[in-house]
């Protein structure tokens, strides 16, 4: 068994894959069209990759996926499990029931089974009230009768004290030993409703994740990759084993966005920069912070507020396929895009739709290695005035998005990646340098292929009860345990991020500590 690895990353237009060697050097990279079911597109991409590289499949030790299966399932409300939603918090919290402001069709899709039982903790870790075990048992039994396939448990201040969630899991296991139980303190951060929402979505997508793993495994077998291990990219720029990700599918929901940012680091070795990833329809602009994506505090998933760890990005509706319109002398670009039909509808390909790519071709800033592409046609058919105006609009949209993710006015290093990144100029007013590395169009797949195995935990402490050093140690140990559970080799684990956030207006020196641990793949 060799040490080659494959990374696959699913975008809205293309599914990229890349084959790398032990030193993370690119051996081959391909692009296939993303399909509605996602899996077919992944398999097409992998097949092309194997054909192009011609390597012996036995030399490939791992396939790392960055996929949108989970996001699609939530957005399309398809294949979601019925979730028994249990909140532990009464007598507090009853004024806002679980899923109150969810879109109705999504609430229906997860079954709408919910209860609030007595229990939970104060910010100090003391009980608000004792856990109502009898009430909990009754609710679990009732949910099972109504067809619950998984359980989501959220207790007040469980990130300070998870005892009631842990006890609830034991009780549910007694009654329903074969049903998955998801605990909120393993999913999200401070903010009960947002953490509860993420926990419910996680529980609801466990079935989709299991089926995804199964179908990808079968697909790999057909390609002769049955022996390769599978990993799934996580939202925080790390990756995890199938066993782990089947328990925490929500951690993959925006992973492809992180893959591109992480890939930009791998391609350039630059740890702190702004990354703009331009695809066929959108450009995502994010920030590399010490080699990992800067994270946002909250993220809305299909109309539901959550607080899972996710990359902090500004997304604009501007990609290679974005449609250019002229109305009353005003030129607009996007958000409508021809997507993969660029090579049929784009002017340079003989079509009739003026796209952002046509503008860049006519302007002469990019070249495309495709015999069907004729920049001369774009130059002839698009009036020069429109080319100049449209290109100025495109550049100012990108510059504005870059400016929005910055934290200070100083010009930053900007790394351009993605299939559409060729259309950008070599200089940007907001950047001190613009870098478009080799293999930029495969940054996403490369980010997936090279990701380390990781775990992040967030816990709240009061420095009146524990010293700072002890608190950081406790959180670090937990992050390490999580990384090991995700498949990391214990001897290689290191802590790459410790963040300490004071909780204002609270006595007792209350703080929130977030720790990220990463490690290398465990040898087989």
């Amino acid at each position: 068994m060799g040490g080659l690895r494959i990374g696959v990353d699913v975008g809205s237009t293309h599914t990229d894959s890349v084959l790398i060697d032990e030193r993370d050097s690119v051996i081959a990279a391909v692009k296939a069209r993303t399909t509605k079911d996602v899996t077919t597109g992944i398999m097409n991409s992998l097949r092309q990759l194997l054909e192009k590289s011609g390597v012996d499949t036995a030399d490939i030790s791992a396939v790392m996926f960055g996929t949108t299966h989970i996001l699609n399932a939530i957005v399309q409300r398809e294949g979601l499990m019925r979730v028994g939603v249990i909140r532990i918090g009464a007598p507090a919290t009853t004024a806002i029931e679980p899923m109150l402001d969810w879109p109705k069709d999504l609430r229906d899709a997860v079954g709408g089974l919910k209860t609030i039982v007595q229990g939970g903790h104060e910010y100090t870790g003391e009980e608000i009230a004792s856990l109502d075990e009898k009430g909990l048992r009754k609710a679990v039994t009732a949910f099972l009768e109504k067809g619950a396939e998984a359980f989501a448990v959220t207790s007040v201040f469980s990130i300070v004290n998870p005892d009631h969630e842990l006890r609830a899991k034991e009780i549910i296991r007694e009654i329903a030993p074969d049903k998955p139980v998801v605990l909120s303190h393993e999913i999200g951060s401070m903010g009960l409703l947002e953490r509860e929402n993420a926990t419910i979505l996680n529980a609801a997508t466990i079935g989709v994740m299991k089926r995804t793993v199964e179908s990808l495994r079968k697909g790999l077998e057909k390609l002769g990759l049955g022996e390769a291990r599978m990993f799934f990219a996580q939202n925080d720029g790390t990756t995890a084993s199938t066993d782990y990700i089947e328990k925490f599918p929500i951690f993959t929901v925006v992973a492809p966005i992180s893959n591109s940012i992480r890939g930009a680091y791998v391609l350039t070795g630059i740890k702190d920069a702004i990354v703009a990833d331009t695809g066929g329809t959108t450009t995502n602009v994010g920030v590399l912070n010490n080699g990992y994506p800067r994270e946002a505090l909250e993220i809305e998933i299909s109309g539901v507020r959550t607080n899972i760890r996710s990359p902090d990005i500004v997304a604009i509706g501007l990609g290679g396929g974005s449609v250019v319109k002229v109305e009353n002398g005003t030129v607009t670009v996007g958000p409508v895009s021809v997507g993969y039909r660029l090579i049929e509808e784009g002017v340079a390909w003989g079509g009739n739709t003026v796209t952002a790519t046509d503008i860049a071709l006519a302007k002469g800033v990019m070249r495309i290695d495709d015999p069907r592409c004729d920049p001369e046609r774009a130059r002839k058919l698009i009036p020069p005035g429109v080319v100049e105006k449209a290109y100025a609009v495109m550049v100012s949209m990108l510059e504005e998005a870059i400016d929005k993710v910055k934290t200070s006015p100083e010009p930053a290093t900007v790394i351009l990646v993605g299939g559409g990144s060729l259309m950008w100029p070599k200089k940007l007013s907001v950047a001190k340098e613009v870098i478009r590395p080799e293999h930029a169009q495969s940054a996403n797949a490369l980010g997936a292929a090279t990701a380390l195995i990781g775990g992040t935990v967030e816990k709240a402490f009061s420095y009146d009860h524990i010293t700072r050093a002890e608190a950081i140690k406790a959180a670090s140990e937990e992050a390490k345990t999580k990384a090991i559970a995700a498949g990391a080799d214990p001897s290689t684990i290191e802590i790459v991020e410790v963040e300490e956030i004071a909780l204002p207006y609270l006595p007792g020196n209350a703080v929130k500590i977030r720790v990220k641990a990463v490690g290398k793949m465990k040898p087989k």
Binding site: A90, M190, K404
Partner: protein, 361 residues
């Protein structure tokens, strides 16, 4: 006038409250969901005109106080404010006919709605500020000699406390200490008064104004209007500036989130700079060295494209914003009013100039 609120009204009111919150007042999200759940459960929230409040009616403000981070984790049962109301009613030996919002901004603009629904009381269309302010005595009632206490405080377990203090400053001090023992958040009934006093001292029309503002922003696109113009129409406000935030400095001192945001002009304002000084709320706006708006007039920062208000915590480099100024209630423009909430109270050595005068230059 009598308006029974529906869920859309609640959404509009919360958004309008965020505009009048002038960057502070806390996230109205929790309060909005509480009111929406009450309506979903078939309870009624009815707003009545301030003028229709009877002289001998018993009127009480209800509010939440404490750490926002506790409020988003140990969210309320919805009964806490009711416990405090019951407690103050027992103390006075009479039923409160009306419950009202102490401020027209942030979380406490929606909490009384949920309490009114839960307890079956009416909500007068008025409040104690017409905006948001950070301290208990910064209400128009204070100007008219109404006392904050006797007040009551309660938690979700049903514990309650009555406070009767020598003045409104002691009320603030002792109440803070009790809040800690309640787990970081307390629910209070405060400024108990007669209908006569309420009519004399309240800022009128604030709830219906919040609803109008929210509606204007949310429906602007539907009516083919620019959200910013719709917002200016609904508030009677002035466009003070448009631009990009280029610097935000923050200092956490004395329990306040103080700081300054510098905005570089765009469009008609190119070449010009606006500095906003804030302490929880936006307090003073200075354009190219000249004060163009200050407390007690309202200064609100909104996202340029959507006209959605931006809280002071969310001010950050790169944001494209518009800044609007809205005249405050005339009660604040008296010498007594300016002593309590004028720029000098907040430590700025400037004279207050009403915004409609200042913008004319």
């Amino acid at each position: 006038m009598e308006i029974k609120l529906n869920k859309e009204d609640i959404k509009n009111l919360s958004l309008g409250a965020a505009v009048l919150g002038t960057g502070g007042g806390g996230d109205p999200y929790i309060g909005m969901l509480m009111a929406m759940q009450a309506i979903e459960k078939g309870k009624e929230i009815t707003i009545v005109d301030v003028e229709s409040v009877e002289d001998d009616a018993f009127v009480v403000a209800v509010a939440g106080m404490g750490a926002p981070v506790v409020m988003i984790e140990k969210i309320p049962s919805g009964k806490e404010a009711g416990f405090s109301l019951t407690s103050i009613e027992r103390y006075f030996g009479k039923r409160a006919d009306y419950v009202f919002s102490i401020e027209a901004g942030g979380l406490n603009s929606t909490i009384p709605l949920a309490t009114a629904a839960e307890m079956g009381r009416l909500v007068p269309d008025g409040d104690g500020m017409g905006r948001a302010f950070p301290e208990l005595q910064m209400v128009t009632f204070h100007l008219y000699g109404v006392r904050a206490t006797p007040m009551s405080m309660a938690d979700e377990k049903g514990n309650s406390v009555i406070l009767d203090t020598v003045d409104n400053y002691w009320a603030e001090k002792i109440a803070r200490a009790i809040t800690v023992k309640f787990g970081g958040v307390a629910w209070i009934s405060i400024y108990p008064m007669s209908g006569k006093d309420f009519k004399r001292a309240a800022v009128r029309g604030s709830l219906t104004k919040e609803i109008r503002i929210g509606e204007a922003i949310r429906d602007a696109k539907k009516h083919g209007k620019n959200p910013l113009d719709a917002l200016l129409d609904a508030t009677g406000g002035f466009l003070l500036f448009e631009g990009k935030i280029v610097d935000v400095i923050r200092r956490a001192t004395g329990g306040f989130a103080r700081g300054e945001a510098t905005i570089e002009g765009l469009g008609d304002f190119r070449g010009s700079r606006l500095v906003i000084h804030f302490q929880n709320e936006n307090l003073v706006a200075i354009r190219d060295g000249k004060v163009i708006a200050s407390v007690p007039d309202l200064i609100t920062v909104i996202e340029r494209d959507t006209a959605r208000p931006v809280t002071t915590e969310r001010l950050k480099y790169g944001l494209r914003v518009a800044v609007i100024g809205i005249p405050c209630d005339p009660k604040w423009r008296t010498p007594e009013g300016l002593k309590v909430v004028g720029p000098r109270y907040f430590g700025y050595d400037i004279d207050y100039v009403p915004i409609e005068v200042a913008v004319r230059g």
